[in-house]
């Protein structure tokens, strides 16, 4: 079900009826209105937040107490220092999955048909959904750090650096989740979105420096892990929260973010336009 012709650009003809706003800045305004819609839905179904609340807690506890002893030469505390930014990186990638699943469901239910029949920018519904996800990533960061602090994680830097870690994590998440948006547009069912994204995110988050130093991997695998965007995000966050050099990892992370946006935003928008 694809339409081959390209849609014409949106009209910018101003409207002047009483009680109406002009089209100026309307895409952002529409996206915010649609983000509010997503947030209302999240608020009504708090169980949909498990992936950013319980999941990081369970991962931190499991990895620390099950693998911690074996991995970091017996010191669970030392492993926790290493692990926490890793779990953050992994759960950031996983938290984006829900977005694609929800968008796919919305399209299936016909809610997006209504949006598509309105004189709004075609990107507004997608951008709105992504904006609403900011709240989920903030919760995720707070849960990760909170759990870590309770079980003995020690911030080796300063509050400003932790804020920077929060900023880069959320920013990365907002870029990474466009993969999920794209998959949400092209997959036939929401179940398929979930399946495809897990197949992508699980290897991506394990073949990285999130849980073990890449130096312990066979060299070919280490090479893969070293270019992995998750590795660079985790490296950046480690530097900002535990201490150590940040610049190189940060540049790599920013580079990856740009690539993710440049590749997956157009793909997602195109798939959205074509989905009938």
């Amino acid at each position: 079900m694809t339409a081959t012709a390209v849609h014409p650009t949106e009209s910018t003809q101003p409207t002047s009826r009483a009680g109406e706003l002009t089209d100026e800045g309307s895409t952002l305004r529409h996206a915010i209105a649609l983000a509010k819609r997503s947030l209302i839905k999240t608020w009504r179904t708090p169980e949909a937040l498990v992936d950013v609340t319980l999941q990081p807690v369970i991962f931190i506890l499991m990895f620390t107490y099950i693998f911690g002893g074996a991995i970091a030469g017996g010191s669970q505390h030392e492993y926790l220092q290493f692990l926490l930014p890793g779990v953050l990186g992994q759960t950031v990638a996983m938290a984006g999955i829900a977005l694609g699943v929800n968008l796919n469901t919305d399209i299936e239910k016909g809610v997006f048909d209504r949006f598509r029949s309105l004189p709004i920018s075609r990107s507004a519904p997608l951008v709105g959904a992504v904006l609403a996800d900011v709240v989920r990533y903030l919760i995720l960061f707070v849960m990760c750090l909170g759990t870590g602090l309770i079980v003995g994680f020690h911030v080796g830097t300063n509050p400003l650096a932790v804020l920077a870690a929060l900023g880069i994590s959320v920013a990365f998440a907002l870029c990474f989740c466009w993969i999920s948006v794209w998959v949400g547009m092209i997959a036939r069912t929401s179940g398929a979105v979930q399946g495809i994204m897990f197949l992508l995110v699980l290897p991506l988050s394990f073949v990285s420096n999130a849980f073990v130093p890449t130096a312990t991997m066979p060299s070919w695998l280490a090479q893969v892990a070293d270019v992995n965007p998750i590795s660079h995000l985790v490296g950046t966050v480690r530097g900002l929260m535990v201490g150590g050099p940040v610049a190189s990892n940060l540049l790599w992370t920013l580079g990856w973010m740009a690539v993710l946006l440049l590749v997956f935003v157009p793909l997602a928008l195109r798939a959205y336009r074509r989905r009938a």
Binding site: A3, R37, K41, R44, G110, V111, R114, S117, L118
Partner: protein, 317 residues
Amino acid sequence: MTYAFRAEGLTKRFGTTQALDSIELAAEHGTVLGVLGPNGAGKTTAVRILATLLQADSGRAQVNGYDVTRDAAKVRRSIGLTGQYASVDEDLTGTQNLVLIGQLLNLRSAAARARAAELLEWFDLTDAAGRMAKTYSGGMRRRLDLAASLVGRPAVVFLDEPTTGLDPAKREDMWGVVRQLVDDGSTVLLTTQYLDEADALADEISVIDHGRVIAHDTPDGLKRVIGGQRIRVRPSDLGRLDEVRAILGQIAGASPEESARHQLTVPVDDESALAATVDRLTESGISVTELSFHLPSLDEVFMSLTGRPTETTKEAA
């Protein structure tokens, strides 16, 4: 002549299915066009193209004077769309659903709220305004969906099978809304599977099948072709079917056809035929399990127009 919407030679193919095969649909301002056809005839595909949700493979379509491809944004300012399946957001309340649409139509917050309240009142949903749409009954959901498509006071309203699945009382309510819309100056495209619905609401009816128009006329004109009211009888004693056949034949002056097993249907000229039928059946002491007086069903319309029944098993397009 200026049309509120007009589709000329639209074609659309999905894989091997020819959903639309050079379809022509048009309505003048302030009128209702009924598009009558079975599932899979192409009704929804045609509506989606007119509503800019889908691009045709070839052909042209205009809505409110704007080309659906070149001026899609202007078309979207002119239309309201109510899908075959209610497309309100179930996790939002009635008010939130309508306010969101208002905001997306660039209404200021206060104006969006006022319009939402006005529509909820009109559609008798004020009491349910603060409840999530998922708690609504089927009829309430349809009304909210229709309300959502009217927030922007559209000049052209597309109603894709708005009453499918509704009970008769709710259908009548929906019909009232459609009439009100037209009184207010809107033009309506209504797709339906029921001739009685098209007959009750439409100024003109296009009967479509396999993506093409097979008949286009006023309701009266169409009924002249396919016959008006029909009487259908199913005797409880199946052995007396032939007696019933004879009685109906005499009253109608035409030989009844067996529209289903042990069920006879015959077109009649006026309502007195019903009383006559009841009298004759009573006189003869024939009891019935079914006796009805109705406009032709979609199957009967298609039988009259094409000489074959509809293929309702095909996937809806």
